[in-house]
């Protein structure tokens, strides 16, 4: 009997990259469900457009680069990028907005750099920022959450599709997000007065009607991924921790110049989506556990700074991109101390 030579190890753990991506997709389901429940069909339509665009772009780029298309499409990474974008973009956004964002993400942020594993920036966040800067108007109109609608129902599928296709939106169905409202509305009033006057806040349990549920759903998905060992707790906990710390440090008891409460920062906007689905993207983050703690904490601080003192109501996308920038630098200073060495080395150090 003669056998083929192969190298050890002869067994392999259960995880594969495709499996990792599938788990991420699965963990997004609660968030997608709550978004759809609160804001209507828009999110699902976004998902459809983004997924088709992402797969087409990925396939086109791969065949242009002469790579086996089927093999790489099966890693599901394009689908993950598409879904992350679809849940981050406003529901009922014009179709071309979604297409531009997705194409930028897949083509510019990922394939131009060499495909999966080589992108220094998170593709979904690059796509998001491209349209945020180019089309601020479309990007700032979110549908009104379910709880504030008079007849307690979102527009049905037909009008929603029409709105997306024509890019006109549906009158009376869009409004400000909690962060938006807080940033532009609180001026001159005490936070408590402002909150009482705004049904978006006064009727909410934690931090803004609808949004708190969306964030809780993403949190649940994130906990699932943590439990499954898809990623470690370091980056998300560090990010949420530093964001919370900033909110507490700068909480002035609710004066008219307040930066917003702890709960507002943790449970509105893209906080939980960012913490568990964006900054945990391994490719563009720091590598070691120590590095990921620093990386997460840095992004948490940046989110607060941009939200409170920046021009944009939410800062997750910018903060993540800045964090991506810093990741190689963080890596250089957070090499673990290897067994049998008295201290860690710098990555740039030469041997001996």
């Amino acid at each position: 009997m003669v056998f083929k030579p192969v190298s050890s190890p002869h067994r392999h753990g259960a995880l594969s990259t495709a499996r990792v991506m599938q788990w991420v997709l699965l963990a997004l389901i609660p968030g997608i469900a709550v978004l759809t429940w609160q804001f209507g069909w828009g999110t699902l339509i976004n998902i459809a457009i983004a997924t088709v665009t992402a797969l087409l772009c990925e396939a086109a780029a791969l065949s242009l680069r002469g790579r086996p298309v089927g093999f790489y499409l099966r890693d599901y990474s394009a689908a993950v990028t598409a879904l992350l974008l679809a849940v981050a973009l406003p529901p009922l956004a014009p179709w071309w907005l979604v297409v531009i964002a997705t194409a930028s993400a897949v083509l510019i942020a990922k394939q131009v750099y060499g495909g999966l594993g080589y992108n220094p920036f998170n593709p979904a966040m690059v796509g998001y920022v491209v349209v945020l800067i180019s089309f601020p108007l479309q990007m700032s109109s979110w549908p009104t959450p379910l709880g504030l609608l008079s007849d307690a129902s979102q527009p049905s599928l037909g009008p929603s599709l029409a709105a997306v296709a024509t890019g006109t939106g549906i009158d009376g169905w869009s409004g400000a997000t909690p962060l938006d409202l807080f940033k532009h509305g609180v001026n001159g009033q005490l936070v408590s007065d402002f909150v009482a006057a705004q049904p978006l806040f006064s009727q909410a349990l934690l931090a803004g009607l609808g949004w708190e549920w969306v964030n809780l759903a993403f949190l649940a998905g994130g906990v699932l991924l943590l439990a499954k060992g898809i990623f470690t707790w370091h980056a998300p906990v560090a990010m949420l921790g530093s964001l919370a710390l900033m909110a507490l440090l700068f909480w002035d008891g609710g004066s008219s110049h307040s930066g917003g409460s702890l709960l507002l920062h943790l449970f509105s906007g893209a906080t939980m989506l960012g913490a568990f689905f964006i900054i945990t993207d391994p490719v563009s983050s720091a590598v070691s556990t120590r590095g990921r703690l620093i990386y997460g904490a840095l992004i948490g601080v940046l989110i607060y700074l941009i939200r409170v003192w920046g021009n944009y109501p939410d800062g997750v996308a910018f903060a993540v991109l800045l964090g991506n920038f810093a990741a190689p630098f963080i890596d250089n200073y957070t090499l673990p101390r290897s067994y049998g060495h008295s201290r860690a080395r710098r990555a740039t150090e030469q041997s001996k």
Partner: protein
């Protein structure tokens, strides 16, 4: 129970150990033929002591190791040696190596077993020789000779017994402990005696072997010698806790500094199988001719542990366990994490064959193309050495050896945990092995070229020295000649005749001194060469033992051995030359006075004095004739030299001096003619 420490990283692959411990250790039917590989562990090839056709007894030594490397080999059963030559052995390459083939006669006739239950009454050195001659080698890992490991000249404080067996599937040590724990404890005592009875003896074992732990506890409690306590360190099951470095960290909380040997921390590690073999070798007088081997895997209908003779064909082991060939997807020697896939089953077992896994398709990772690294960091989390495998992979791909070393590639223990967890299926450890190999090769080449350069420089120096010596001689001769000429001129002018004699003597002295300088210098040079080659040989030997101890790979060991052999040869050459020189010296001095150095000089002086005296007695025409004869002689010598000379520069020199001599001779000749004709 002893406190244990946590180690970083590690994984929990499916254990798959139960299937092979359902029955006690069983004997195997005697195979008709055995092949004992002369090369039982990396780099050490033993020399056969038997000839084809010779009958051998069970336990008879059939091959002797090279000094300080490898172990002796013994006939695993009685029979006849039918061949000594290449046969495929259990090595991933599947390349043949020299084996002694024995046809068993089935009599199992033992040699006289020389038993030493009273080993503590033997001197340590004698016991160490006995261990080496009885073939005891490390059965847990690389098969390193046990005698060398136990001959530590450093003070040892901890004898650490490795009963971890952390690889999935393997249960050889587990079953050994379940059934033969007391004998293993005797092995601990022998090792302990040899190491100067270290303060602590600790058995490290994972908590997935409760039966073995219970057996150990009973055996320890039943020991009569309570003074030398043996402790158990039980720790949670995790791969690779059984790595030497990891075990040291778990049991002592200390890390072995990078590149150091455990003995430097006062620790010696021994595997339980080795200690059992040690007991058998010393107390029962049975050399290492068999070991416990696990046969497992779903392609075999029966799984279990067997007392296997070294040299048994793997196919016989598998056949006994009802191998289903159509189900066999991969045959692995060792465990699934670090074992090697064997190219065929027609190979003999060796001393380190602890397990054979006849895996079916469900038991091995399917071969999948690697996907890009997604930098998930799972590999770094799994790494027991706290390395960053994905960074290493990155640099290994681009062959950046400097970077690889900066990321501590050489601290990788090749456990494969990183490859195991990598979701992108990247064969990380394969890259690391290749990277290490490349760097080692580069180092070996550099060492070789350094050696060549040194040799070249040495030669260059020698040539220059020779040239300088020659120059000095030439100048001395010239000086002497000038002085002689001056003296002669004075003589011609009617001055004191004996001046010329004195000048001639001086010239002869100078010549002799010039010639004398060289043997003395030569001797000095040779002595220097000998000292340096001795140092080089020592260094080479040290490196070799170190590498063998580390279980370095084959090519590296070969390179080191070559270097050692070269150094030894050089030393021999230099010593030989010195001896020759001494012989010629003593030969020349034997017929001379007590001062051999001055001997040549005094002879030259005597000669010069004689010739000067003779000249004095000569008539002018006689003088001229003798001068002419001398000139003719010199001319002839020069011509001779000219013929032999190949160097063009030297040739020119010789030619010009020949021309001068010729002119001188011609002049002298005409004047002598004139004289003769009475002008």
């Amino acid at each position: 129970m002893r406190k244990v420490w946590q180690t970083p990283g590690g994984i929990h692959p499916a254990e798959n150990k139960l299937q092979s411990v359902q029955q006690p250790i069983q004997p195997l039917p005697l195979p008709p033929r055995l092949w004992v590989a002369l090369n039982q562990h990396a780099g050490a090839v033993a020399k056969p002591l038997v000839a084809v056709g010779e009958r051998v007894l069970k336990g008879q030594m059939i091959a002797r190791p090279q000094p300080d490397s490898g172990t002796a080999l013994h006939a695993p059963s009685s029979g006849t040696v039918v061949a000594i030559g290449p046969h495929p052995i259990a090595h991933p390459s599947g390349l043949p190596a020299d084996c002694i083939e024995i046809v068993c006669d089935g009599l199992e006739q033992w040699i006289d077993r020389d038993r030493h239950p009273d080993y503590r009454s033997l001197p340590r050195s004698e016991l160490l020789v006995m261990i080496s001659e009885r073939g005891v080698a490390g059965l847990g890992g690389a098969g390193f000779p046990t005698a060398i490991k136990l001959a530590s000249d450093r003070p040892i404080e901890l004898l650490l017994i490795n009963a971890t067996e952390c690889e999935p599937y393997i249960t050889a040590d587990d079953s050994l402990l379940r059934e033969r724990a007391e004998q293993m404890l005797v092995g601990i005592d022998i090792a302990s005696y040899l190491l100067g009875d270290p303060a602590e003896r600790v058995i490290g074992i994972e908590d997935n072997k409760p039966e073995a732990i219970a057996a150990l506890r009973t055996a320890i409690a039943a020991r009569s010698d309570k003074a030398a306590a043996i402790e158990l360190a039980i720790f949670p099951t995790k791969y690779p806790s059984g790595g030497e470095k990891q075990l040291i960290q778990i049991v002592t909380g200390r890390e072995l500094p990078s590149g150091a040997l455990p003995a430097e921390l006062g620790i010696v590690c021994q595997n339980v199988g080795t200690l059992y073999a040690l007991k058998r070798a010393i107390v029962d007088g049975e050399p290492l001719i068999s070991r416990i081997t696990t046969v497992t895997g779903k392609a075999c209908l029966r799984n279990g542990n067997y007392e296997t003779l070294i040299g048994t064909p793997v196919s016989a082991l598998l056949g006994h366990n009802q191998l289903q060939p159509q189900r066999l997807a991969r045959l692995i020697m060792g465990g699934p994490m670090m074992g090697v896939a064997l190219p065929s089953s027609e190979l003999p077992t060796v001393k380190t064959s602890n397990c054979f896994i006849a895996a079916d398709a469900s038991e091995v990772a399917p071969e999948q193309p690697a996907q890009p690294c997604i930098r998930c960091g799972l590999c770094a989390e799994a790494c027991p050495a706290s390395l960053l495998p994905q960074q290493l992979y990155w640099h290994a791909q681009s062959q950046q050896h400097e970077k690889l070393e900066a990321h501590n590639l050489f601290d990788c223990i090749e456990c494969g945990a990183c490859s195991y967890v990598c979701p992108s299926n990247i064969p990380l450890v394969q890259y690391f092995r290749a990277g290490k190999g490349e760097i080692r090769q580069q180092r070996a080449e550099k060492a070789k070229s350094d050696f060549a350069r040194e040799r070249f420089e040495f030669r260059q120096q020698r040539l220059e020295q020779q040239e300088r010596d020659k120059q000095a001689k030439r100048e001395a001769r010239k000086l002497a000649a000038e002085q002689a000429k001056a003296a002669q001129a004075q003589g011609d002018n009617g001055a004191a005749e004996d001046n010329s004699a004195a000048a001639l003597i001086a010239a002869a002295q100078a010549r002799a001194a010039a010639r004398m300088a060289s043997p003395q210098q030569q001797r000095d040079k040779l002595t220097r060469a000998i000292t340096s080659s001795r140092a080089r040989l020592q260094a080479a030997e040290d490196k070799l033992t170190q590498a063998q101890h580390d279980g370095a790979d084959h090519s590296q060991l070969q390179a080191l051995q070559a270097a050692q052999a070269a150094a030894a040869q050089k030393l021999q050459l230099a010593e030989q030359k010195l001896a020759e020189l001494a012989a010629t010296d003593s030969a020349s001095s034997s017929d001379a006075s007590a001062a051999p150095e001055l001997d040549a000089a005094s002879r030259a002086i005597a000669k010069a004095r004689d010739s000067a005296a003779a000249r004095e007695a000569m008539s002018p025409s006689e003088k001229m004739a003798s001068d002419l004869a001398a000139l003719d002689k010199r001319l002839a010598k020069l011509q001779e030299k000219l013929e032999l000379c190949e160097d063009s520069e030297q040739r020119q020199l010789l030619e010009s001096s020949a021309a001068k001599l010729q002119a001188k001779r011609d002049a002298l000749h005409t004047s002598s003619q004139g004289d003769q004709h009475g002008i």
